[in-house]
Each structure stands twice: as C-alpha cells, then as structure tokens.
Symmetry: C2
Amino acid sequence: MIKHLVVVGVGLIGGSLALDLKQQGLVGKVTGVGRRRANLDKARELGIIDAIADSAAAAVGDADLVLLAVPVGAMGPLFRELAPVLPPGCIITDAGSTKQDVIAAARAGLGERIGQFVPAHPIAGAENSGAEAARPGLYRHKPLVITPLPENAPEAVDRVTALWKACGATVCRLPPERHDQVFAAVSHLPHLVAFALMEELAGRPDADIYFRHAGSGFRDFTRIAGSHPEMWRDISMANKDALVAEMDTFIAKLGDLRDLLKAGDSAALEALFARAREARHNWIKARGH
Amino acid sequence: MIKHLVVVGVGLIGGSLALDLKQQGLVGKVTGVGRRRANLDKARELGIIDAIADSAAAAVGDADLVLLAVPVGAMGPLFRELAPVLPPGCIITDAGSTKQDVIAAARAGLGERIGQFVPAHPIAGAENSGAEAARPGLYRHKPLVITPLPENAPEAVDRVTALWKACGATVCRLPPERHDQVFAAVSHLPHLVAFALMEELAGRPDADIYFRHAGSGFRDFTRIAGSHPEMWRDISMANKDALVAEMDTFIAKLGDLRDLLKAGDSAALEALFARAREARHNWIKARGH
C-alpha cells in the first residue's frame, strides 16, 4: 500500500500505473507533476491524479513513492531537485527506456541517497502520449525490467517489484548494461528503422503514390514511427554506443541480404526467410499473444 | 455474375475472394485447384469451394473466370497449361504481388490469348496462409491495383474491376513497372527488413534474452516476418531490380541516420523523427484506420 504516490510526467506510462494502483486500492493519494498544465488538468478530470503540484520538490514532502515517467533526458534535473527534500523512507523509481544513463544521472543528482532509487523499465510503450492515452490494464502480461543497484536495500527492490506485479507485469532483473544492449536490439533499432523508412518515403516528390498503396503490413511495420520524437531523441542519445553497434550490425546484415538478392541466390533467400518465420512463430507461441 | 469461377491456389487470397463472391450471390460454382489435396478438402469442407479439380486445365472447360492465387514463381507453367484449353470468353486474373514478371510469363504462356489476362494485385496479405486463413470481408477498404494490358478489352478490365469492387476493395490502376517500383518500397523492402531483423536476433547464441524482452513494438514491426518464405522468395526474385534499388537507398539512409547518432546530432535526429511521425499521422488519418 502506497499512501502518497507522486507521478512526474502524467502520460501513457505514469498515468496507466496510477490508474491500475487506484483501481486495486493500492494507493491513497496521487499527485501529478508536469510541464503542461493542461495535461495535468485533464489527468485530474479523468481521475488519474487527485492533486497537482507545481514541482516535484513541492510534492514529495510526505510521499512514499515517486515515479519519474519523463523522457530520459529530463531526469537529471529532477534527481538534483529531489535530493535535498526527499523523505528518508521514500523510494524513487523510473520508467526510462535506457538504464545506464538514468543511473548515472541519479548518482550525480542524488549523491548519498542513491540507494533510494530503484531503476525500472516497463515495456509497454505505444505511439500515443499524454494523459488521455493512459488506461488501466496497460501492463498486464507486459515485461518489466528492474536493474537493481548495489546500494538498493532488498526491501526497496521488492517494493517496486510488488507494485508492478500488482499491475500484471512480468518482472525480471538484468544488469543495467545488459538491459541497454538488449533494448538497443529489440526496441531502439526497430524504432530508428521505422522512422527512417517513413521519413524516406515522405520526402519523395511523389510520396502520395507510395502511401496510397501501402497496406496493413506497412501500417504495422511503421506503427512505432508514430512515437514521440523528443522521447526517442533522448533514448537514442542516451543509448548511443549500444545503438550505433546494433545499427552497424544490422546495416551489414541488410547489405548481405541485398547481395544475395542481387546475385539471384533464391535458395539462400528462402532459407533466411524460413529461419526468420520459424523464430517469429516460436516467439509468438512462447509469448502467448 | 460469374457462372463458374476456378481458383488456383485456395489460400487466404483466393479463398477470401471466393467466400465474398459466394456470400453476395455473385458466383454460381467455385472449383478449387491446388498442390495440396488436404488443403482443398479443407476448403470444400469450409464451403469455400464446391468442387476440386486435378489440374487447372481440367477445370476451365466451362469457366468464365480463373483466378491465379499462387506464388508468382508458379504462374508461368499455369499460363502454358491453360493456353490451349481456355474458352474464348473466359478471363484470367491473378493476385500476384509483382506485375512485370507475371505479365511476361503470361505473354510467353498465353501467346495470342494474352488479351484474356487482366493482371491485378489485391493488397491484403497477412502472415497466415492456407484455406483456413480465408475469411469474408478481407478486401473491404483494401487497395487493389489493376495494371491493364494494351491487349485487354475494356470490358474485361471492367469485369475484373467490378468483381473486386463488389468485395469492397478500392480499385486503382497503375502501369506495371510503376506498380513494381512502388511495391518494392512500401511492401517488399519492409518484408526483407523484418525478415532480416528476426533472423539476425534468432541467430545469436543468447537469442532467448532478446526475445524475452521484446514488446508490442517489436511484435508489430516483425509481424510480416511471419510471412510465407516461398512466396517472398518469389516476390523478391521477381522484383529484384526495383528491390535492390530500394535496398541500396534504404541502407544509405540508415547509414546517414547512424552517422547523425554517432556524431551526437540530437537536433537532426529529433527533426527526422518528427517528420516521420507527422507523415505517419497524416497517412493514418487519410487512410481512415
């Protein structure tokens, strides 16, 4: 049970967590903090938050949990702001898509209070943003990664784990650097590829001919190109090294595939497609949906 | 009204058309032809077809429409088989994802009867295949491209147009070479990219770590990597030149994006992401879903 939850960034991620915890009676009061007042008013109107505070520092006086659900580039100033006013028993957690940079910002900002920060990453992004995108049940059966710090008390990690489990997430743990490398491959790279294809076609003088004939395969492939530009700028920069490495690997892979095609090696193409299809079928089966 | 429709390849595409036409009372009898007897038996059991024939040639004696819904690489022999037995008033149409190669195969196989072939491409592929994947309504609001031949009688083109319109498709016309170039960009390239990513990750020794943390963005991005390997081998080979050109363009684009990232040019990244997002929002809005 959380008495007072402070959500900094009341959008899809932060808002959905608040709704889930409220629905289950696991939270007393929720205070929202954010840059856009209109979004906070909307969040209160929708029953996602109960109160609005002007700043994170002003909100945390009696808080027992703070969720930072803002772009990863915006977290540094928040840690610095919270350090001098954070109550001793209060845990900060986050929902950042990268972990090494957020942890570095937390260490720099929180100093000796770093043990109060439990880094986490819920895998439930969608291309919609803002309080209106929030909905209960978003985290059901979704992976959630916690990358604990050596300074974290086991109870603090358990508390954040329990919170997300209550929302139906499948919680696992990874070292921060492994987290960032895995997500460069399964999330950040696909986002950049989808953005690149959409932007490439949109820039052609006859773009409308292409878009008019694009079907549902294209729609699904490019869904993530509707994601938030600022958020993805921050993620890309925060995870630059791992992402550049994955892009180099993938560009080389596409080059190999292009050469097979150019050479007319239809057997090798079919074998590659078959391995891909089998891997995807197995993944979907294991995933259950 | 079609008295006797012959569907060669009773899978998602051919089966769904048969179901739609039956449901609307626009077809008298449907005969199925295919390589796998079990699939044809299933199609008859499901009410998709009324009769099974051993070969296309054996089926077309009194047919007024033949739909070739087989991988594009399998169409050449069918045109040769049908040429000597095709009734004069019977129209052949197809559902091939590439058009220049199918037209070339039709010219070679049908000879003087080429005017009876009206090339078409319904944009409604999904990763499922076989008769069990067929369903009525598949073509509603989906684009359908006809690439008419100079030899086609206007009535023949109108008849195929009317058929697909009756199923709810949005019919448009393109020259065959333009069709192939547009679909290399909006369909064939994304398929190869999705296959490549799936195969790349599946080949890593620690593949399970990647797949365990992949979320819904990855799921949608790779949906088309579940497509049929043989079908996509044929499409890739059939549209090789246009597809190699699109791959070269896209590999260069990804290289530029990688360089922006490596250089830490966050403003340029954000601007590119924003252009992509805007283009996608506009497309989805124009598309209506």
